[in-house]
């Protein structure tokens, strides 16, 4: 068990392609960190640099206080779970689990004890003498985790471990990974492109885009106070509605619609306005509102998603089933539920002197 510190880390591939730049991240002992972002955002590269499978071009990575930049993966005291499981196909499950321990010269009784313990924990004891190809995807996934667990490493590194599983199994394995990590208390870094997986697993989320950190924070902080339009559109399903608007004093104009913000306007001039689908509700006729021209409806069972246009900008709203659908709907939102982003930088705009933004604090603490 250990803390991990990533300082000013960057990765430049031969040929000058920059994959990752200027990453600062402090991971406390026992913390579950999820790196999330679209493909090509550098999340896997960052993980592989921590693992020692990629060289570190800039900055330092330290595990448990010691800089590990020049250490071999084997000497970093980490275990990794790969996307394709990377089980050794010619070995039985037992041999797969033992391999790392044998290489480190662990005494035989100790090996047997650890393998038995891991097998019991992951409920794979009855498959120990099978070869990986005789196992289902979920079972292989367990074996891959078992191989990480038996080593009792300082940190677990997960590289999209669930993306080869079907949707149902993914949900149950997600729960198991979380439970296991709680139980073992091992520091973990988990890479995924699935924002739902990221939200449900993480103690803290690290949202990456274009090789840079966009935001670090607890899942709910990131959800409720996205630091940029990128985070706002990436985290949450359906994605946050982002519309171009204009602030005039206390009033917000989006297309033909105008809302009164009752003192919640952080600035004036053109802004990007963000609003979550579930924060919108039907307006009474007297209220100031967005006028939504409905285009199509997605029925989700518990609620319905109504897609349409406000002026010439798309908007999605989640409505309870009781509400009657109409061709045109008037929608309103509590001003404090609105998010404002700079048009130029895409960064979040906060009220001067307003309540402190928690996610910002977390970022400050890390940097």
């Amino acid at each position: 068990m250990a803390s991990i510190h990533v300082e000013n880390v960057g990765k430049i591939y031969s040929g000058g392609v920059r994959a990752v730049s200027d990453i600062n991240l402090s991971i406390a002992d026992g913390e579950f960190i999820v790196l999330v972002g679209p493909s090509g955002c550098g999340k896997s590269t960052l993980l592989r640099m921590v693992a020692g499978l990629e060289t570190i071009s800039e900055g330092t990575v330290s595990i448990d206080g010691g800089v590990v930049n020049d250490k071999e993966p084997a000497d970093r005291d980490i275990a990794m779970v790969f996307q394709n499981y990377a089980l050794y196909p010619h070995m039985t499950v037992r041999q797969n689990l033992e391999y790392g321990l044998k290489n480190r010269g662990t005494p035989r009784p100790e090996i047997d004890a650890r393998v038995a313990e891991a097998a019991r924990m992951l409920e794979i004891a009855q498959y120990l003498d099978r070869k990986p190809r005789a196992l289902s995807g979920g079972q292989r996934q367990r074996v891959a985790m078992g191989r990480a667990i038996v080593r009792k490493p300082a940190a677990f590194l997960f590289d999209e471990p669930l993306s080869n599983l079907d949707a149902k199994l993914r949900v149950s394995m997600r729960g198991e990974i979380k439970r296991l990590q709680r139980r073992l208390g091992t520091t973990s870094i988990y890479v995924t492109h699935d924002q739902l997986e990221a939200m449900t697993l993480a103690d803290r989320l690290v949202v990456l885009d274009g090789g840079r950190i966009e935001q670090i924070g607890a899942p709910l902080e990131v959800y409720h106070e996205p630091a940029s339009t990128f985070v706002a559109s990436f985290i949450g399903s359906p994605a946050m509605n982002l519309m171009e608007g204009e602030l005039h004093g206390d009033r917000l104009a989006v297309g033909p619609s105008i809302l009164n913000l009752a003192g919640y306007a952080p600035t004036s001039g053109p802004v990007t306005v963000g609003v979550r689908a579930e924060d919108l509700r039907l307006a009474t006729s007297a209220q100031e509102s967005f006028l939504l021209r409905v285009e199509y409806v997605e029925e989700l069972g518990s609620q319905r998603l109504v897609h349409g246009m406000v002026g010439d900008q798309p908007l999605t709203v989640a409505l309870p089933l009781e509400e009657a659908l109409q061709e045109e709907m008037k929608l309103t939102v509590e001003p404090r539920r609105l998010h404002f982003f700079s048009r130029e930088t895409g960064k979040r705009l906060t009220m001067p002197g307003s309540e402190p933004v928690r996610s910002r604090q977390v970022m400050g603490a890390v940097a």
Partner: protein, 294 residues
Amino acid sequence: MQTKRTIFSNKRLPYLLLAPQLVITLVFFIWPALQAVKSSFEREDPFGFKTTFIWFENYTRILQDAAYLNSLGNTAVFAVSVTVLSMGLSLLLAVCVNRVMRPGRIYTTLLVWPYAVAPVVVGILWWFMFNPSIGFIPYILRGFGISWNHRIDGNQAMLLIILAASWKQISYNFLFFLAGLQSVPNSLTEAAAIDGAGPFKRFWTIVFPLLSPTTFFLLIININYAMFDTFGIIDATTSGGPAQATNTLVYKVYADGFVGLNLGSSSAQSVILMLIVIVLTVVQFRYVERRVQY
């Protein structure tokens, strides 16, 4: 492997479709083989006037013939050496190329060239290089105090044909090994690296076992190559000499049959050679292949 079953309504059509392949196999493989079996029981005078049926006399005679037993030994030494040398070297080269893929392309192309060279040309090439009078290798060796003359020294002659035959086969083995290596997922070696295995151990405990189907396939191909396909190389370099030192089974079949015109004995030898290869292949498939599956 996936196979698609086709149901023919006409009973004759499938046979008709198979016919070209069957005819080729029968005319060019089965018929000559049967002819060889037939003439292995016969004795013919050198001018082909008279043929006598003599049962197994050809067989008993060659099995008591010291020259034949000598060529059997030569073949064993030759086949094992060529297989080990060419497979070992090509695996080494494939591992090197597998590490650096981009410049590897040119390297791969260069390594494949020897395969396109005709066996006799290969033989002549090595004959020139090792020629005791005009070759540059004996000249260099002389500088180290080694006297090279494969026309006199049987062991040197054997070494020469082993080198020549291996050199030609390396390209072929290399291509298969490289393809095999590339099909081993990177993540396996990475996982092994994290599991604390050094590069050498990673290769022997992870990569090499996963290559075993390729290795097994090449083993059979190489043994068959060394036993059958090396006639041209031997003929061009040593012609079985000196004093029968490089006379292998397949070369002796040629020498006795076409040069010595002892067709009966030559046929009997080729039948035995055929049996040896059948037995070897069956044994390999029976006992080795079972162990290379994973």
